[in-house]
Symmetry: C2
Subunit: 443 residues, 2 copies
C-alpha cells in the first residue's frame, strides 16, 4: 500500500536558495515560463517567469541539449545549469543552461507583448485577454498587493477577537432593498443575490460578539462608471458592545495601519515594481457630513445644491481639502442623512435627520460605508413602519433583535476600490482580476 505523509520534496531549486549566499557556482534546476528571449549572437538570454519574479538564464550555443530555435516565448521549461554571479542580471545572478526540458508549448504566439515593463495597451484589450495580460509583471503585482490587503484584514481582526463567518449569497431578500438586486429562480422560488452580508453579520454579533467576512457581493446597479463593479469583494466586519460608532472608525484605522505595515514587510517587491507610495494612516481626520460640505463650498466657491447628498465631485473635493489643509490621505465623513442610509442605520438621537454613520474617503473616493445599527427591536420595527417597508423575508433577522442584541455596528470596505486608490489607478477594473460590469460577463 502507498502512503502520503506530507508535501513532496522536489528536485528543483528553491528561489531563496537560488538567491541565497554561497549559491554562486552551484548547480540548480529551475522551472518557469519563457517570459522573453533575447538573442545576442553566441548566446541568448532566456528570461524565465516564476511566481517569485523573473530569472535570467543564459543559452550558450553548443552547450545545451536543444537548439535555441526550439525555444519559444510562453513555453514552460525545466532547465538545469550552473548559477553564476552577474551584476547586470535582475538579481545579480544568472543560470548558465546545460540542459533544457520543455514542459509545455503554446499553440500560438502571444497576442500582447507581456514582456514589456509596462503593458502598453488599452484597458479593453487587457480585459479581453485577461489571463495573458496578467502575466505581465506589473499587472500581476497589483493582485499580490490586493492579497496583502485581504490578508491584513483577516489577521488584524483575528487578533482583535473577531470570528470569520461564511454567509449565504443566495437569499430570499436583499439587505439594502431597492431595485439593484440580481434575481434568480431558486427551485421555483424567487430569490436574490446578496447585496451585502449585512443581515447575517448582524445576526452573528449575537453569537460571536465580533465577526467578519471577506466575500463577493452583487449589485445590479445600472452604473457604467470608473468606480462601479456589479460584483465585487467586500471586506465586512460587525462588532458588538460599542459605546459609539467612533469605535468602528477606530477599528478601521487600526486595520489600515496594520495593512500598511504588512505591505511594507511582505510585499515590498510589488510596492517597488508599481512605485507605490503608501498613504499616511497615522491619524485620520473626522468631519461631519454637513460641515464637510460647508468647508468645500467655502474653499472652492461651490454652491451647495443638495444638503442631503454628496456628489462624486464633492467627495473628490473633500479629499482635496483634507490633503491640502491636513496632508491627510483619508478622511472619515460622519453623520450621513438618515434618508440616504438604510433602515437599519441608527439615527442620531440629537438630530434624527442624521445617522450615527460614516463613509471613509481615500484620496477623495468612498471606500467604506459603516456605522452604528439599531439594536432595539421596537425601534427597528418602527423604522421599518415609518419607511413603509414590508417585513416579509426578514422575519428571522427581526427575531434576532426580539431576542436581544448588544449595541453594535460595522462596516464594509470595497476591496477593489481600496486597491485602486492605493495603486493610484483611474479605473476600478484595473484592481479586479475578472471585472463584472454592465457589458462584461466574460472572461
Amino acid at each position: 500500500m502507498e502512503f502520503l505523509d506530507g508535501i513532496l520534496k522536489k528536485e528543483t531549486t528553491e528561489w531563496e536558495e537560488l538567491l541565497g549566499e554561497d549559491f554562486a557556482g552551484k548547480e540548480a534546476v529551475l522551472e518557469g515560463a519563457v517570459h522573453s528571449i533575447r538573442r545576442m549572437g553566441d548566446v541568448a538570454f532566456v528570461i524565465l517567469r516564476r511566481r517569485e519574479g523573473l530569472f535570467q538564464t543564459v543559452y550558450e550555443h553548443g552547450k545545451v541539449n536543444l537548439p535555441i530555435s526550439e525555444i519559444r516565448e510562453a513555453m514552460t521549461l525545466r532547465v538545469r545549469g550552473v548559477v553564476l554571479e552577474e551584476e547586470r542580471a535582475p538579481h545579480g545572478r544568472e543560470l548558465r543552461i546545460r540542459e533544457i526540458q520543455i514542459l509545455s508549448a503554446p499553440a500560438e504566439p502571444l497576442p500582447l507583448a507581456i514582456d514589456k515593463w509596462k503593458l502598453d495597451t488599452s484597458l479593453e484589450a487587457k480585459l479581453n485577454f485577461r489571463p495573458v495580460a496578467l502575466r505581465n509583471i506589473q499587472e500581476r503585482s497589483r493582485f499580490k498587493i490586493q492579497e496583502g490587503l485581504v490578508r491584513a484584514f483577516r489577521d488584524f481582526l483575528y487578533e482583535q477577537g473577531f470570528t470569520e463567518i461564511h454567509t449565504p449569497k443566495i437569499g430570499a431578500r436583499g439587505a439594502e432593498g431597492g431595485a439593484n438586486m440580481f434575481r434568480l429562480s431558486y427551485f421555483h422560488r424567487p430569490a436574490v443575490l446578496a447585496q451585502s452580508p449585512q443581515f447575517y453579520k448582524q445576526m452573528m454579533v449575537g453569537v460571536f460578539d465580533r465577526v467578519f467576512e471577506t466575500g463577493p457581493v452583487f449589485r445590479a446597479e445600472k452604473h457604467n462608471t470608473k468606480r462601479h463593479l456589479n460584483e465585487y469583494t467586500s471586506l465586512d466586519f460587525e462588532m458588538g458592545y460599542i459605546d459609539s460608532f467612533h469605535e468602528i472608525m477606530a477599528m478601521e484605522t487600526g486595520y489600515l495601519q496594520y495593512a500598511m505595515e504588512l505591505l511594507k514587510k511582505d510585499y515590498q517587491k510589488e510596492l517597488d515594481i508599481l512605485k507605490v507610495t503608501l498613504p499616511d494612516t497615522s491619524r485620520i481626520p473626522v468631519v461631519r457630513f454637513d460641515r464637510a460640505k460647508e468647508l468645500v463650498s467655502e474653499k472652492y466657491k461651490r454652491p451647495i445644491r443638495n444638503p442631503y447628498d454628496l456628489e462624486p465631485e464633492e467627495e473628490s473635493l473633500i479629499g482635496q481639502y483634507f490633503k491640502e489643509e491636513y496632508d491627510a490621505d483619508f478622511v472619515f465623513v460622519t453623520h450621513y442623512p438618515s434618508k440616504k442610509r438604510p433602515f437599519y442605520a441608527m439615527d442620531d438621537p440629537e438630530n434624527e435627520k442624521f445617522t450615527l454613520s460614516f463613509d471613509l474617503l481615500f484620496h477623495g473616493l468612498e471606500i467604506t460605508t459603516g456605522g452604528q445599527r439599531i439594536h432595539d427591536y421596537g425601534m427597528l420595527k418602527k423604522k421599518l413602519a415609518d419607511r413603509g417597508m414590508e417585513e416579509e423575508g426578514m422575519e428571522q433577522y427581526l427575531d434576532t433583535f426580539k431576542h436581544g442584541m448588544p449595541p453594535h455596528g460595522g462596516l464594509g470596505i470595497g476591496l477593489e476600490r481600496l486597491t485602486m486608490q492605493l495603486l493610484g489607478e483611474e479605473n476600478v477594473r484595473e484592481a479586479c482580476l475578472f471585472p463584472r460590469d454592465m457589458t462584461r460577463l466574460e472572461p
Copy 2:
C-alpha cells in the same frame, strides 16, 4: 478637528487579564449577554456569555444598584465588580457585582433553551431559529473550528508560495456544465452562478504558478440528502509545474497536518467543548479506484454493480476498510473513470478510460475532488470535440492554453463536509451557519 490614530482603549477588562495571574481581588468591568440566571436565595448567579466563553458573576441582594428582578436572560449588560477566586466557577473565578448597566433588553423570551449544555431540539428547529440557536456554546464552537480549518488552509498555502485570488461568481458559463446551474438574467443576458472557480484558478496558474480561493460555490442539484448543500464554501487550490498528481495529494496531506496543528494550538477550547478527537493525518493511504472497489467487494461480500461508479455505500465501506486494515481516517482514491470526470481532467496515458485524478475520503465521505488537468491546447480541444461539447462561452479559457500553460492540477475541498466529518456530525447542515437546500432559502 478630530483625528483617529488607532483602535480605542476601552474601560472594560480584557478576558486574558480577567483570567490572568494576580487578578483575584481586583475590580473589573465586564460586558456580555445574560446566558442564564440561577437564583439561590440571597444570591443569584448571572452567567455572562462573551465571545471568549462564559463567566460567572454573582448578584448579592442589597449590594447592587438594580434589583435582580430587572435582570432577564438575553439582556446585554455591563457589570462592574470585584473578581474573586472560586473553585466551583467555570474558570475558577467569579465577579461579585457592585454595579449593573443594562445595555439592551430582549422584547420576548428566547424560543430555545440555549443555556443547556447540549441544545436539545431538532435540526429543523435549530435551523429555523438559527441566530438564537447558535448562541448555545456547543453550537457556536463548531464554527470556531470551521474558522480554524479555513485559516489553516490560507496560512499553509501562503507559506507554500500560493497567491490568493478572488474570481467572479456570475459568469456566462459554468465550469462543470450540465443541468445543475443556477441561472439568472444579467442585464438581459443569460448568466449562471459559478459551480466552482475551476476555469479561473486554472487561468491564474499561468500568472501566479500557484493560486487558491476560499469562497462560495453554487450547485442547483436536486439532492435532498444529509451530505448535500446547494451553496457551500469551497477551499480551492491549483498548482503549476507538477510532475504528477501525487504532488496535489501530498499538498493536501500537508494542509491537513497543518490544520490539525493549528486546531490544537488555537482552538483547543472548542475541541474540548465538542469532545473532538483529531484524526490521524500522519500518513494517508492511496488506493486506485478499481482496486478499492475490489477490496471492499471481497471483504464485505458485496458484488460490484457498476465498475465505473462509486455508490455512497461503497465510499462508506472504503472508509471502513481502511480504518479496519490500516487504522486510517483518510484515504485517497485515485484514477477515477474518465466518463465520471469533467472534460478538463487529464486522462491516464496508460489507460485512457481512467484519469489522473483522486477523491479524498474522510471517514468514508468524499470531502475533496482533485487531479491533474489537461494543459495542452490541442488535447483540450480534442477532448471537448470527443465529448460533443460546445466551446461557446469558453473562448478565453481555451485561449489561455493556446498561449501556453505549465502542467498543473488542483483540488476543491468542501468546507462544510470537512467540518462535519471532523466533528462527527450526521448532517452537513450542522456544519453550515445558514444552509441552503432545496427547501431552505431563509434565514
